[in-house]
């Protein structure tokens, strides 16, 4: 479905796209406060509201990155201040694990940022968003969907070649020479 929707806007040069998961009690409210206080900041972050940072499933982060986000921002209450006692700790623990995983996948650690922002810290929302946009602008696009497309293309090409070989074998013709590498262990 994603490919069928195109907003009627002029296509400019690449700008970071960031998905944010903010907890309802602290960071979402802080973002509201930034709004009420008219603290101008970069327009690259799209906020999704959850009740608690503890609700942030690592799959949400992976989904966002694979769907084309260049970074993910998670905002929760400060330690000790969680509206639900300790959801933010749970989030922190998961985040640590996820970061290791993402590092293995070659995704820069800066692309997933966890911040504790209280309801009073509108200024911090502004600062963190601006900082993150700057960092990601420097890192450049993550481009996982494009990579997927590339891999898909390679895969189908490979499949095509394989089936072509198979056809050749089946047809009794000389097989196409396929270069094989000998790997010495």
């Amino acid at each position: 479905m994603a490919n069928t929707i195109q907003p009627p806007l002029p296509d400019g040069k690449w700008k970071p796209r960031i998905v944010a998961f903010f907890c309802n009690w602290c960071t979402y409210t802080a973002a509201d406060l930034a709004g009420v206080s008219r603290m101008k900041h970069a327009a690259n972050v799209r906020i999704i509201r959850l009740m608690c940072s503890g609700r942030v499933d690592p799959q949400f982060i992976i989904a966002a990155l694979t769907k084309g986000a260049d970074a993910v921002l998670i905002g929760g209450c400060h330690p000790n201040d969680c509206h639900y006692s300790e959801g933010n700790y749970k989030c922190l623990r998961r985040n640590q694990m996820l970061k290791r995983m993402l590092a293995d996948m070659g995704i820069e650690p800066e692309r997933v940022r966890l911040e504790w922002i209280s309801a009073a810290e509108g200024e911090k929302v502004k600062r963190v968003i601006n900082e993150l946009v700057e960092t990601i602008s420097r890192l450049g696009p993550l481009g996982i969907p494009q990579k997927f497309e590339e891999w898909d293309r390679e895969m189908s090409e490979l499949t095509r070649q394989m089936s072509k070989q198979q056809e050749a074998v089946d047809g009794g013709e000389t097989p196409v020479a396929v270069k094989t590498e000998v790997i010495h262990v």
């Binding site: 479905m1 994603a2 009627p8 806007l9 999704i48 959850l50 608690c52 084309g68 509206h83 009073a120």
Partner: protein
């Protein structure tokens, strides 16, 4: 509550509405373009933009569309859901749909108000709206949960704010627990001499209210007590209160003070807290004559009956060194109990009012004003006590050297409007400084110099008061004092020079004075941070308790059922504190009289057929809402205990926990939606 399964094969028909909010949104977001674009998306049946969606015609528009074009999902892009989500859910319901078939998009606080590029802001609005449009088909009809409310109220802090709120609620027939950490209620107001602008006597207006609290049948007054623990939620808070040992049995003491007279210490010799150390008291004492409750207490640090040591459990060790003349004097009343121990009281209340007040700025933090260095430098509260007829000098304004000052400098804005200490204006200092100027002149006929930055006298009768004091012949100098130092031309009398630029004449003034009064500002109570944690509140960056909305919810907090009164929320004067205390009481009453609380149906439930019985969710729940059914080997969620954080949902390895309003499918669609451009 089990979700109602939506009718299968019902085609989704979404109504999308974007609000101009005057120019608040339309000024930065091309709302017409957003509406046009959303109209092209699948499932969208109606897409409109309208000037004010929250207005009656705006809401009527939604209802009409539901009726006429058979919409079954509604998305409104407007302000923050914190403000109007409820409004539009009600409009959705009024149109005949389940109110949870609605989703709100925040394009004001998170978009038009914080961005400066119209193209970017419009693009973002489209993305956010698209996410909601992609999310809302997954919405299920849900029901609001109702929970009964406990009618009792806890009020924390017994200053004028707490007193007024307590009386209001008690008079309305509600049971109030008033917890105060000092041995008496009264707070700062009890220490003031006169109040501005009317110059009426603070204690004269306060003491009847204090007495009413003390005798009210609906008020449990617990002084010398502190809240130790808070659990639970609106309607049903469980609170532990620590009642500290005062070594006097409150119920038996009549307040006759014969024990005080009989104490082996013939003269008071210990620093008197109520008079800020300017007066003296005995080890057994009543904080001040009108104290409520009129019950004495014993200071174990100085009383001879205590060895001034502590037992392993922290209680004071008792000695037999003293003749115990106090016990003798008390006689058959037997109100003195040296073995008394602190007590923990458990109470259940439905609502809480915080009225914990403020502390005055410690002027030692601005060392160049010489507080704590030169004996003739005082803070304003000390002056209140010195000019008070029941104060340590019985109302005679004399300095520590016994002399009456002939020239007095009053320094405004000490610990206010200062990046190095406190940034905010403390709001009351200008007026109390003028009041003190008037009172000092009245008491001593001294020359009084007021050094101010800006004279701030808003409020009813305040400017008139300023005029009156100015006419009395005060020196009003516009300039912040830069230095206070001993007069180099005067060796011994302790006279000080106050140095400042008179900014209206461009002259540097060096005025020798006998006494310097520092108009110290108001700052958050030192316990505010602990209380905030305990009660799950937020504080502003300055440390004041944060109100839910600065304009429209000034006494509410982000925690339902907890309200704010007085200076714990920010500096204010007595009338404003009383007004806010009344408002907090009314908010509490409104909740209590409704009888029940409506809870968001965002609780979680388990799809039993998919649960593998791994138990990993069970320890994660802070409310012990998840149990394990040993027979079926499945987890079960008690929805009455679930508060809807969703932590268990995120951690379930088999994806068998679902959170209403925040289902995986809903959030994944939202992620797809924000990124689909």
């Amino acid at each position: 509550m089990k979700p109602i399964v939506p009718k299968k094969h019902e085609p989704i028909r979404i109504g999308f509405y974007i609000c101009h909010c005057g120019t608040n949104i339309a000024g930065m977001v091309d709302v017409e373009a957003v509406a046009k674009y959303i109209g092209t998306l699948p499932n969208v049946a109606v897409s409109r933009h309208y000037k004010y969606m929250c207005s009656d015609p705006g809401q009527e528009l939604i209802q009409q569309d539901i009726r006429e074009t058979h919409l079954n999902r509604i998305v409104v892009a407007a302000c923050s859901p914190q403000l109007h989500e409820h409004t539009f859910r009600m409009a959705t319901a009024a149109g005949g749909l389940n109110p949870y078939h609605f989703q709100m998009v925040n394009v004001r606080e998170h978009d038009s108000w914080v961005h400066t590029d119209r193209v970017e802001a419009t693009r973002k609005a489209m993305a956010l709206a698209r996410a909601a449009v992609m999310r809302v088909p997954h919405h299920k009809p849900l029901e609001v949960k109702k929970v009964a409310i406990n009618p009792n109220v806890l009020i924390v802090g017994g200053g004028i704010g707490g007193i007024h709120a307590a009386l209001t609620l008690a008079n309305a027939g509600k049971m109030v627990y008033l917890v105060e950490k000092e041995p008496t209620i009264g707070g700062h107001m009890a220490k003031f001499d006169k109040t501005f602008p009317t110059l009426d006597c603070a204690m004269c207006v306060l003491s009847p209210k204090m007495a009413a609290v003390g005798s009210h049948p609906n008020i449990h007054l617990w002084t010398y007590s502190e809240v130790a623990k808070v659990d639970g939620y609106v309607g049903n808070f469980k609170v532990s209160v620590r009642r500290k040992e005062r070594y006097i049995l409150e119920d038996l003491c009549t307040g006759c003070q014969e024990c005080v007279n009989a104490c082996v210490f013939k003269e008071p010799k210990f620093q008197d807290e109520f008079n800020l150390g300017l007066g003296k008291r005995k080890p057994i004492y009543l904080p001040f004559p009108q104290a409520i409750p009129p019950v004495t207490l014993i200071d174990p640090e100085v009383c001879l009956n205590f060895k001034r040591g502590r037992n392993p459990d922290g209680s004071h060790t008792v000695s037999d060194k003293c003749k115990k003349t106090c016990v003798e004097a008390c006689g058959d009343r037997k109100a003195i109990d040296f073995k008394q121990q602190e007590e923990i009281k458990e109470i259940t209340v439905g609502t809480i009012i915080m009225a914990t007040g403020f502390q005055i700025f410690d002027a030692k933090r601005t060392p160049y004003y010489g507080y704590g260095i030169y004996p003739n430098v005082y803070n304003a509260l000390e002056i209140e006590r010195l000019i008070n007829a029941s104060g340590p000098t019985e109302g005679e304004l004399v300095m520590r050297n016994g002399q009456s000052p002939k020239k007095v400098a009053i320094v405004h804005c000490v610990g206010s409007r200062d990046e190095n200490t406190n940034r905010w204006c403390s709001r009351v200092c200008c007026l109390y400084s003028l009041k003190l100027a008037h009172l000092i002149k009245e008491h001593t006929e001294a020359e009084v110099y007021n050094f101010y930055i800006d004279m701030r006298t808003p409020g009813k009768s305040m400017e008139e008061f300023y005029n009156r004091v100015a006419e009395e012949g005060m020196h009003l100098i516009r300039g912040r004092v830069a230095d206070v130092y001993p007069d180099p031309n005067d060796g011994t009398t302790g006279r000080l020079v106050v140095q400042a630029e008179d900014t209206l004449t461009n002259k540097i003034l060096k005025i020798p004075v006998d006494m310097v009064v520092l108009s110290v500002g108001l700052e958050p109570h030192p316990e505010a941070e602990n209380l905030r944690r305990m009660f799950n509140l937020s504080c502003s960056s300055e440390g004041w308790f944060l109100e839910r909305h600065p304009k429209l919810a000034p006494v509410n907090t982000f925690t339902d059922g907890i309200f704010l009164a007085g200076c714990c929320q920010g500096p204010k004067d007595i009338p404003d504190t009383v007004a806010q205390a009344g408002a907090a009481a009314a908010e509490a009453l409104a909740l209590i009289d409704k009888g029940h609380i409506e809870q968001e149906p965002n609780t979680a439930y388990i799809l039993a057929e998919e649960c593998s019985g791994c138990k990993s969710c069970i320890p994660l729940c802070p409310y012990t809402a998840i149990a394990f059914d040993e027979t079926k080997k499945k987890a079960i969620i008690n929805e009455a205990l679930c508060k809807g954080c969703g932590t268990c949902v995120a951690s379930c390895p088999s994806g068998s926990i679902v959170q209403n309003l925040f289902e995986d499918a809903e959030i994944f669609s939202e992620i797809d939606g924000v990124l689909a451009d």
